[in-house]
Symmetry: C2
Subunit: 347 residues, 2 copies
């Protein structure tokens, strides 16, 4: 993982050698490609790789089996060979799609992540998960396929739309609260630096998040056990996105509310102090993230949670005992979940 | 791998325990399902698994992204969970499709192969390759995903159509010539027993092929190096199937001709004796397999070979030095390939 400024324009210096490769296939949406494909292609050219752009729809619309099919057709018609790398240039959605393409075209070709959003840099691009969505749910089809390299260009964060940048801060806040106490201190010390996108601050935030995720994924590439803590705030978050049909709240907004739900549920079950609930809320507010939102009925939320692929038998949640101490709790009583949802405004 | 009679009806005895599974999703074509799903479902029921049949088209028509999509939709709408196994019941095509489904649905669920054709029992079901075809070529999209168990019911071979059974013998002949000299002796000793589908003979043939493949795959799950020898006869075989658009020769017929091409090319290059060419031809004839066929032009065949995903730079072939001694030879001169094709009737 390379994190820094100008990483895209100097990609050739940071990439491993792809033996026997002649072309590099870059999957990106039109807007991202317009800004970042030219410098990336130029640098790839210096490494002897002919960069070919494959354009995908923006955002979650990239993550369909139809787009996947269009991508593998294009690779086949352009006679991409098994040694040619596929690069994901963009946010988490393009990374998930391109990773799935790279892991299945010819049963796997080399893959490189070039994340340009904060969410992708701190979370999605690390860990080897790839996926597309089905109408029945998010990420229901995918693989594990580790990238050969991740190039996180902090400069790309400067051009992100405000809402997308803030959405990424929700994942940073997740690491801070659930996994990395020092990160929480940095965020609390001067949230204005973060919101102003000070490049040095962002580089440190990204590096700490990536470090935390890489340590967890190294222990357990698959979803079981330890990796589940990365899901802090995501059980309700995913359920809300599902109920919105992925067209309402941003991922970060859903996760922020999900984190408030998780810490309140932790307190409700006597696992953590009231103070941690308040501290979570202060953090999210200081990062311009929501702490509550209009909620559907508790019954609908519970049904959507049961559709989660991490769901198993009873209700399972990632809960908090203290800052940096997240734990997976099995068989949380449905009545407790319902109470907290109702406290938060669900009917 | 369990090989024997009545293995399907006693599946529950041979399967591992699938912790937390409640259903088993069986992918099969209509004809195979009609004959073998009822006993399989009954046995799965004894193991506490509710068997659900997902019907796929017969043969290669199962191996499309459209059928793949239909399968994952059905799993999602039936709320298949990540602990529920997917079973492939049928030939190699259904195994490739179902394996791809199992390896990607929820990023991988347990997979079991229940091969009912000779080709699938001796080759396709072993080794963890999964795939679907694209219009541009065979097996261009897929994964590596090892089955948790392979149940090869020799009794299923008794009901195979003659052409399909003979097609499977081509793969058996491949192992015999390229990898397992004792197998060649068994086949040469009494081909009539094999053609008459004597159950004990078939059980021995299947066991020896599976053993040979398992030893190779254990060394190298991916395609590189040693596993390539399993491709003996397949470079021309695949090219012919591609030129037929998979609607002409059976896979076995194409591979048989491909084996004759490979041994002739080996002889042409001075790697093996004339006698080995004659012995290969005798073996194939004794198993009711073709040794030659109408060939397209050498130029078309060469172009189709270059589409192979195992193709790299120069022409690479699996050639024979002696019985059981196959070797990967790089940079075979195109002129040699052309000569042998023309000897065999290509224009």
């Amino acid at each position: 993982v390379t994190i820094g400024l100008d990483v895209i324009a100097r990609a050739a210096e940071h990439l491993p050698t792809f033996t026997a490769a002649s072309a590099a296939f870059v999957i990106a949406d039109g807007a991202v490609a317009g800004r970042w494909f030219p410098p990336l292609a130029e640098s790839l050219g210096q490494a002897g790789l002919d960069a070919v752009l494959l354009t995908a729809p923006a955002g979650e619309r990239a993550k369909t089996l139809q787009v996947f099919e269009a991508m593998v057709h294009q690779l086949a018609t352009q006679q991409a060979h098994r040694h040619d790398p596929v690069l994901a240039l963009g946010g988490g959605a393009v990374g998930d799609l391109a990773g799935f393409v790279a892991s299945t075209y010819m049963r796997g070709v080399p893959f490189v992540q070039v994340p340009t959003t904060l969410t992708a840099q701190v979370d999605a691009a690390i860990g080897g998960k790839t996926a597309v969505n089905l109408p029945e749910g998010k990420n229901l089809v995918g693989t594990f396929h580790q990238p050969r390299a991740v190039l996180a260009d902090i400069g790309a964060l400067d051009t992100l739309p405000e809402r997308e940048f803030i959405s990424g801060l929700a994942e940073v806040a997740k690491y801070a609260v659930a996994l990395v106490p020092e990160l929480l201190e940095i965020l609390e010390h001067d949230p204005a630096q973060t919101l102003a996108r000070d490049m040095a601050t962002l580089e440190e935030l990204v590096a700490r998040c990536v470090g935390a995720k890489a340590r967890i994924v190294a222990v357990d590439e698959r979803d079981t056990d330890r990796r589940l803590v990365l899901n802090y705030g995501h059980t309700l978050g995913h359920a809300l996105e599902r109920l919105d049909r992925f067209e309402g709240r941003s991922h970060g907004e859903a996760v922020a509310v999900g984190m408030m739900f998780a810490v309140r549920l932790s307190h409700h079950l006597g696992l953590c102090s009231e103070d941690l609930v308040a501290r979570s809320a202060r953090l999210l507010k200081s990062l311009a993230l929501p702490t509550h939102t209009a909620l559907p009925s508790a019954t609908d939320v519970l049904a959507a949670m049961r559709m989660d692929k991490k769901y198993r038998d009873g209700m399972r949640f990632v809960l908090l005992e203290a800052v940096g101490r997240a734990a997976v709790v099995e068989e949380v009583p449905e009545s407790a979940v319902r109470s907290v949802l109702e406290e938060m405004g669900a009917t």
